[in-house]
């Protein structure tokens, strides 16, 4: 048997830092000898964090796919109604009804991206790095509800802008995220025009502050970070001209980031007391580089990071230590993650947080299935549980607190979902899963409840809804 204290840390490794135990796959005896080393080992990897599925397409390819679909739909609408194809189901809104309608090209691409992401989370050893990916993807979130372009790009955005930097530099991720077409479309920089630019003067168009404000408020300094309305406007001016090249090809290959000098507000800008000369595209790049290095940014990000992994009330000493790490390493995100798992608090703090619906769904899949659930099913389940994939309610991403996921509504919704899941897996023996899936750490109350269940289905539902399985 494994020693008691490292055994408790084994659950911390899989629940707090990973995606849950895979019975029969994870070697619990070996991991139990050194749970901290098991998590740390994942940070040492140098291989790219991208999915291996080579069928996934780049942003420019996806934009072309969507354009072709829209063109076909336009033509179908022009034909008599009886000839027209059925309207595409709204992937983000409506649930699929049996019999399943054929997927549109847009839905096919979204499902492929989702499947690749599910596969990585499901098959990872502990999954700490994949947890980091979802954390950063949520920090720099885009939402499919903005429109079909963002919807088809959301998965590619995560692969192209987030994953390459998860163990790299904050400044690199910041620049990649803000320059990605998905973000430029989501926060509406696409149509933001310098009032005194060529286009602005000709067409009487102007600024849209949306992206600039969220960069300051959400992505870097944080709401108390000491910026003013004037700083927001200045950054918005610097960002003018950052756009996605459109289908007309005027700015380059459609679907790639492009700098449109004709839309860029001319002149130097002052942000946070510093003057930025007008060097075109590089003006906002310089501003982002400075924002990534601000102490307020380090504090804001360290707070969110600790709140996500450790506790809703982030322990201040741990936050201070991680903020210091960010400042001293020029925003090195591998060092940030390493500092977290090197901290005793992060291993000793009780598991009080509630798994988000996505985390819960992955953990349940790892417990029950050798392979992840199909993307289509997962997408429907996440919609019902209030955490639709790549579609948070606002630019601040999905909530990360127990108030959001353990409130009466959310818990009732999860209860309903688990009831269905247990019905689908009623052939499994819940007592066996309990021993394998909790490394012998389930409470006696949970063991008793599962053992006394009137059916294996009921026992499995109790196991999945037990405090040990819900909390991380």
């Amino acid at each position: 048997m494994i020693g008691a204290s490292s055994n408790a840390e084994l659950l911390v490794a899989f629940h707090r830092f990973g995606w849950g135990i895979r019975p029969g796959v994870n070697d619990l005896r070996a991991i139990g000898n050194d749970p901290r080393g098991f998590v740390a080992a994942e940070l040492a990897r140098t291989s790219p964090l991208a999915p291996t599925d080579s069928g996934l397409q780049s942003s420019p390819e996806l934009i072309v796919v969507l354009e072709a679909q829209r063109e076909r739909e336009k033509q179908a609408r022009a034909t008599p109604p009886s000839m027209a194809a059925p309207p595409a189901a709204d992937l983000t809104g409506n649930r699929a009804k049996p019999p399943p309608t054929p997927l549109t090209p847009l839905q096919q691409r979204v499902h492929a991206e989702a499947q690749a992401r599910l596969q990585l989370a499901h098959k990872s050893g502990c999954g700490f790095v994949e947890r980091l990916v979802t954390f950063w993807s949520n920090h720099f979130c885009v939402a499919a509800s903005r429109g079909q372009q963002v919807q088809i790009l959301a998965g590619a955005y995560e692969r192209e802008a987030i994953r390459p930097h998860v163990l790299g530099k904050l400044g690199g991720m910041l620049k990649a995220a803000e320059q990605h077409p998905a973000m430029l479309l989501y926060l509406e920089n696409q149509g933001s025009i310098g009032p005194n630019s060529q286009i602005g003067l000709k067409r009487k168009r102007g600024l849209n502050e949306n992206l600039a404000r969220e960069i300051l408020e959400l992505h870097t300094l944080g709401v108390g970070g000491g910026y003013t309305q004037a700083d927001v406007t200045s950054l918005a001016r610097m960002l003018t001209g950052w756009a996605m090249a459109g289908m007309d090809g005027r700015l380059g290959k459609p679907g790639l980031f492009a700098y449109d000098a004709a839309a860029h507000e001319p002149g130097a800008q002052v942000m946070l007391g510093k003057t930025y000369a007008d060097v075109g595209r590089g003006q906002a790049e310089k501003a982002l580089q400075d924002l990534a290095r601000k102490p307020a940014t380090a504090t804001h990000i360290a707070t969110k990071f600790v709140r996500h992994f450790v506790a809703d009330a982030a322990p201040p000493a741990l936050v201070a230590r991680l903020a210091k790490t960010l400042r001293e390493t020029d925003g090195d995100l591998r060092s940030l993650a390493a500092a977290l798992i090197a901290s005793d608090e992060a291993w000793k703090a009780p598991l009080t947080k509630i798994r988000s619906p996505y985390e819960f769904w992955i953990a349940a899949g790892r417990l029950l299935n050798p392979e992840p659930e199909p993307a289509r099913h997962t997408i429907n389940v996440l919609n019902q549980m209030g955490q639709p994939l790549w579609n948070p309610p606002g630019p601040d991403g999905f909530a990360d607190t127990n108030a959001a996921w353990a409130n009466p509504n959310a818990l009732k919704t999860r209860f309903d979902m688990v009831s269905n899941l247990a019905r689908a897996h009623r052939a499994r023996d819940p007592r066996e899963l309990l021993e394998q899936g909790f490394a012998g750490l389930a409470s006696s109350a949970t063991r008793t409840a599962v053992a006394r269940a009137e059916s294996s289905q009921q026992g499995l539902a109790l196991l999945l809804m037990s405090p040990e399985f819900l909390r991380r």
């Binding site: 108030a403 009732k412 539902a461």
Partner: protein, 404 residues
């Protein structure tokens, strides 16, 4: 869709035991002389609603120029509905306009919370927490108001319910609250819920409380959730309103409800008489109608309020929308109101009159409106309102004469 056939004994256990039903009481004045039994619903419109577009000041000489191509007019294809000669109402809201004519609806213009920066998240925090600034407490003003109601007869369901997946801050706090959401899942075997609640009782009290509350109101509202049809935004607001109205119209049901609707952040393509904002306002109009219809006999004792965290820029931005601003408006409807009025100390829209030269300047503190309703409708004292519900708001007097 939901074949719900609980064994009576199990259901009785769920609906009568433990932490879930430590509800305080039905307000004592509910059965007092005259039989007035007030209902209050607050709808939070998240994203900052453009008050100048929802109820345009047609009589202000600056309005048409500021709102440009999106401006509504007195006549023609972009005509606003008539309110009082100075203000019009967005044409997507004919039901609210009818209630206004019937003196059962009013609006207060140029209002704002005490918050003056322009972050949605902080703005909503101030709107819902009822504090002078963001991030001060984790409880909502409506929950604290519920806690002040005079205790009386016990009722089965809780006093407030939150419709939506996440309980909104406005209704979080010490007073018990439960909620439901429209859902399409099979009702699980009832015995499972009992066993799970027992398990939580032994090892996780927080989860136990949450589960018991989540299960309770779901039973009551269930019958109303099967009317899903494909009607877009409109129905998205109507359905929660319909379910909430059904619950609070019940004689032993809750008296106070809060709902929350997203999507009001119209940075681009806001639309004028038709368009994105128009669709949202049509949905809101539908929600008001659902409450009027669903509350039936108790509509005469009801007030339904719609509030938002702040307004939007007076000028149209570069993408045919509006950016985050300050002053906006608040809608009130219900049979208990002295309606048919637009209440506003109008600041004007001249360059120098705009707040920071960009936003409608707020001249009325939203807390004055809310205090006026809580005092006149629920009978809370101004002292308690300033101390507990909106701490530090002594200087903000409750608005008088809102109620009929």
């Amino acid at each position: 869709m939901n074949e719900f056939a609980p064994r009576p004994s199990r259901r009785a256990l769920l609906v009568s035991g433990g932490a879930l039903f430590a509800w305080p009481h039905i307000p004592a004045f509910a059965h007092a002389a005259g039989g007035r039994d007030p209902r209050l619903v607050v709808m939070v419109l998240r994203g900052a609603m453009d008050g100048l577009a929802a109820a345009p000041p047609l009589g202000d000489p600056q309005y048409a120029g500021l709102h440009g191509a999106l401006a509504l007019t007195r006549s023609g294809p972009a005509a606003a509905l008539a309110l009082d000669g100075f203000f019009g109402l967005h044409p997507a809201m004919p039901q609210f306009a009818r209630m206004y004519r019937e003196k059962r609806a009013l609006l207060v213009h140029a209002v704002a919370t005490p918050y003056r920066a322009r972050s949605h998240f902080d703005g909503q925090d101030v709107l819902e927490s009822g504090q002078a600034g963001p991030g001060l407490v984790q409880t909502g003003w409506l929950n604290r108001a519920v806690g002040l109601l005079p205790p009386g007869q016990r009722v089965a369901p809780p006093k407030g319910l939150a419709v939506g997946v996440v309980t909104p801050l406005i209704l979080r706090g010490a007073a018990p609250v439960a909620g439901w959401r429209p859902a399409g899942n099979h009702e699980p075997h009832d015995d499972l819920a009992t066993r799970l609640a027992d398990l939580y009782a032994q090892s996780d009290k927080a989860l136990e409380t949450s589960l018991r509350q989540g299960l309770a109101l779901d039973v009551i509202a269930r019958r109303e959730t099967s009317a899903l049809s494909k009607d877009g935004t409109d129905l998205a607001m109507r359905l929660p309103a319909r379910g909430a109205a059904k619950l609070i119209a019940t004689a032993d049901g809750p008296r106070i409800a809060a709902l929350s609707f997203n999507g009001w952040d119209t940075h681009s393509n806001e639309g004028g008489a038709k368009g994105r904002l128009g669709q949202l306002l049509a949905g809101l109009d539908g929600a008001f109608e659902e409450f009027e219809r669903g509350l039936g006999d108790v509509w005469k004792d009801s007030v339904v309020i719609a509030v938002t965290e702040f307004g939007r820029t007076a000028r149209i931005n570069g993408t045919s929308g509006t950016d985050h601003g300050t002053g906006t408006l608040c809608f009130l409807a219900g049979g208990a109101l002295k309606g048919g009025r637009v209440l506003a100390d109008w600041p004007g829209l001249g360059e120098a009159q705009l707040f920071e030269r960009r936003d409608l300047a707020p001249t009325t503190d939203l807390r004055a409106v809310l205090k006026g309703v809580l005092e006149g409708h629920l009978g809370l004292s101004p002292a308690a309102l300033s101390k507990t519900v909106f701490p530090g708001s002594d200087a903000v007097r409750p608005m008088k004469g809102l109620l009929a």
